[in-house]
Symmetry: C2
Subunit: 515 residues, 2 copies
């Protein structure tokens, strides 16, 4: 090897550790730069340390002076070294250690709206959550994603280096992706729309946040499924909405009592109710659409888990049957591709699209165009539907296994909602005084995830149970997780009971016919 | 070639076009699926068309029945075909053509807040803009980005397929990226912070939007540079803020008249003022920090174009010298990497970080973790600073050329702001009755971009001029663009003059000492 140690003729001791190797893949200047940088950032070369002149360092070690100049230039550009008088170059003093934090607590510092936004997220987001775990609801099995295909498409886009994929761009969404989404929606969801009706966002959550901000003023009524997806409740609350409950039971939606006054919007998950996993019948969709028309309100159709419906012939989306363009459809690729992709979308009338896509520029709630372009290719090449078809088969299998295994290990405490679609499974506590938040906390302490059913309720009396993900792990791992959950439930004594005896959540025949 | 045409023994004419080629890269089932799908989506096979049975199609053409079953399965999964009685398979009827839009115009439909958000974006965003063009302010030269290196790092991440990069995740930012950003900030901006003080967002705009929502209530005063970045004004307006001007002239910031009442926040671009490109002196930074402390207000430091400062020894960021953690720093990688990456970040006290990162979950204003991971690698490998150093050299050269060429072709009409940093160049009209909006409209019609200077002013009397990008094209293309701009200016007669004579924007000695 031609590794060359900078000799000890050179007086500054920390530099003795420099090793430059001509045979290495990195150019010599870069090797020198990286090693000097490490020495400075580690503190081995501290502020004020005088570096040898470029000429001296080059001569002493038989390397080109340009090599040393290039390394010094880069260190200087990074602010790590600085020229001094007389062609001296010194290590720059690094900033002081972090100051002790003197800011008061945040609740004094946030605006009222900020405090409200935080209070809403604190209802269901804990930053100390483990990031992964078994039984996570809503998690697809990313190990089964066809990364080789996706990587090939991504590389094609990177090699083509088209300006449209790397510059500033269409904030309503990359046009070929919008076109690909319209084709997908026509084929799979019965929605016939044009690309100029699509807005691409950083996930369904961003779409809901944008809609809440653009459609709802503080004090406006939003008619919202109860129970429903907590993060959807949160965005409307954060927008200042007054939520009124649209009661949903395991048997269906009760739309007989709409808000008396004007409501701006109704939020529903008709394909796969969150958390029950049920599907809204055609008749109720029609009634809701008629009601929204009469009341001049928006319907926000969150097409939650529609792709993982148990049967293939799902009812078309409400957007598809809504005659007067008052329905805005919200979808996501988080569960059909992979969650960290951060791409979702909305479908709406073209005039509204123009307004909302402008607003996405303001809030920057649109994803990297590069990833949008690769997703468009993935859809157009048919890989998406191949993958989705495979995952449907796989998850149907896993769902069956999970129900069987869950009954084997958990039936002393829990009973499943049988008819549910989606990629999670809902289990009701037989004893409705069980504190599902406490059980989930114990699960987390043991590496299991899960969501307490009661968290989804806002106004109506909560039912208690567990929402468990069956798609993210194979059935062997699921079985081990269920055995662990059984052990946890066995430790649950009176300290796992709801204070006050649980009467609010006491199930009635009407509410829990599936039990 | 082993291409095999499905023979005409088969009665349905549209299927005659099927060509299956065993030597092609695609499996036969996929060829069949893709071709049938095209026929259906094109309308060549319409709703109700009876497909041959899998057995029949397979037998007739000597392919395996499983091949046909696999193709049909996928078409069925996509909702394009459906089983009928008696093992018949038919093409499914596709949805109706788009309905005529019956929704009233959006201003009836948007909330008041939505209408405000839209009005603000309409001030400066036109969806009909060409996406690209010459002289775009703020555009880096993406052709010079080291895509080969970036692609290698991206492929490494894709091949590793680590769960943390593809699943649900840290919405405050991917931890290794937060760590890499702290190292970069320490070296280049004098900021010593910890990873738990960073929130990663989908660009600086998302950061400003989050801050406006979290820190400002409707009616709160925000003390805002005037002129300033229009999209920053827009997010505070959309949050309901009352903007009070912090006047900035080409010579400096006038902080002598802060708002009388409480103000929640001051928005400044101290490294490189938008649009003047000037740098706030150290003393004024100190005064502003003291004032914010006294008034219990936030400073939002948008470190606009700090990386492209003309001289290397920039003044440290205000966040670095702010003793009481009231300064929130906002940065972006849009101009140092490439715009469509959509990654920016904020630095703030840790308690605030915890609140704000939770809120990013609510609004989904965080970028794909995959891209965050690759950016972390790009920073850690030192490629970022190499690239930045090269671009600094390149843009310094281009800036010099641009000023020289601009003076050659435009000096009859325009005079440059000499001392400006950043990657755009500001030119004042000698005749301040010139309508810069009209000139920019004519430029757009001729393939040139540019931003009217007057658009940046909200309360104080506007100056008129052009903000032109010099970084996004080489000097030859810039010269051709400037020659075209000269031709446009030669056509500007009285119809390019501000109605009413332009007195509001008449420059005073105090305002335009650079002229």
């Amino acid at each position: 090897m031609s590794a060359r140690r900078v000799s000890s003729r050179f007086p500054q001791l920390p530099l003795d550790s420099l090793v430059l190797d001509e045979a290495a893949g990195e150019p010599l200047y870069r090797q020198l730069y990286l090693q000097l940088r490490s020495l400075i950032l580690e503190g081995s070369l501290s502020g004020g340390f005088r570096l040898p002149s470029t000429r001296k360092l080059a001569t002493e070690h038989g390397i080109s002076r340009n090599t040393v100049v290039a390394a010094y230039d880069q260190l200087e550009a990074e602010g790590l070294i600085e020229p001094r008088r007389g062609s001296q170059t010194c290590v720059r003093s690094q900033p002081e250690p972090p100051r002790s934090e003197t800011a008061p607590m945040f609740d004094d510092f946030l605006s009222r709206r900020g405090a409200l936004m935080l209070a809403e997220t604190l209802r269901y987001v804990s930053q100390d959550d483990p990031q992964f775990g078994l039984l996570v609801p809503g998690a697809p099995d990313i190990r089964r994603f066809p990364f080789a295909k996706w990587r090939r498409l991504l590389n094609n886009r990177l090699l083509a280096r088209k300006e449209d994929v790397f510059g500033y761009h269409d904030y309503g969404g990359y046009p070929p992706l919008r076109a690909a989404i319209t084709r997908y929606l026509a084929a799979s969801r019965g929605i016939r729309c044009e690309p100029d009706q699509i807005v691409v966002t950083t996930g369904a959550q961003a779409a809901l946040d944008l809609l809440a901000r653009l459609l709802v003023d503080p004090g406006d009524v939003v008619w919202m499924e109860d129970p429903s997806y907590p993060a959807a409740q949160a965005v409307f609350m954060a927008a200042g909405a007054v939520l009124q409950p649209l009661p949903v039971s395991p048997t269906g939606w009760d739309i007989r009592n709409p808000p008396r006054d004007r409501f701006r919007a109704a939020y529903v998950t008709p394909s796969c109710h969150c958390p029950y996993g049920t599907t809204m019948p055609f008749e109720q969709r029609d009634q809701l659409i008629a009601l929204a028309h009469e009341r001049n309100a928006w319907i926000i159709e969150d097409d939650f888990d529609a792709e993982y419906h148990l049967t293939r012939n799902t009812i078309p989306a409400m957007q598809a049957i809504s005659a007067d363009s008052r329905t805005i459809y919200v979808g996501t690729f988080s569960k059909t591709m992979f969650p960290s992709l951060r791409i979702g979308f909305m479908v709406m009338p073209p005039t509204i699209q123009r307004s909302i896509s402008r607003a996405t520029f303001l809030s920057s709630q649109y994803p990297s165009i590069l990833l949008q372009a690769v997703l468009a290719d993935f859809l157009d090449e048919g890989y998406f539907s191949t993958h989705l078809a495979e995952m449907r088969r796989l998850y149907r299998q896993r769902r069956g296994d999970f129900l069987r295994l869950g009954r084997r290990y958990l039936s002393e405490w829990l009973e499943p909602m049988e008819s549910a679609s989606g990629i999670q499974s809902l289990w009701f506590f037989r004893d409705q005084t069980m504190d599902d938040h406490e059980v989930v906390a114990r699960m987390r302490a043991n590496g299991l995830r899960g969501v307490p059913l009661s968290m989804h309720f806002r106004h109506i009396a909560p039912l208690r149970g567990l929402v468990l993900g069956f798609a993210g792990q194979d059935s062997n791992r699921a079985e081990r997780a269920l055995i662990r959950l059984r052990a946890i439930l066995e430790t649950c004594g009176p300290d796992c009971r709801v204070r006050g005896g649980g009467t609010p959540g006491a199930p009635t025949d009407d509410m829990t016919p599936g039990l």
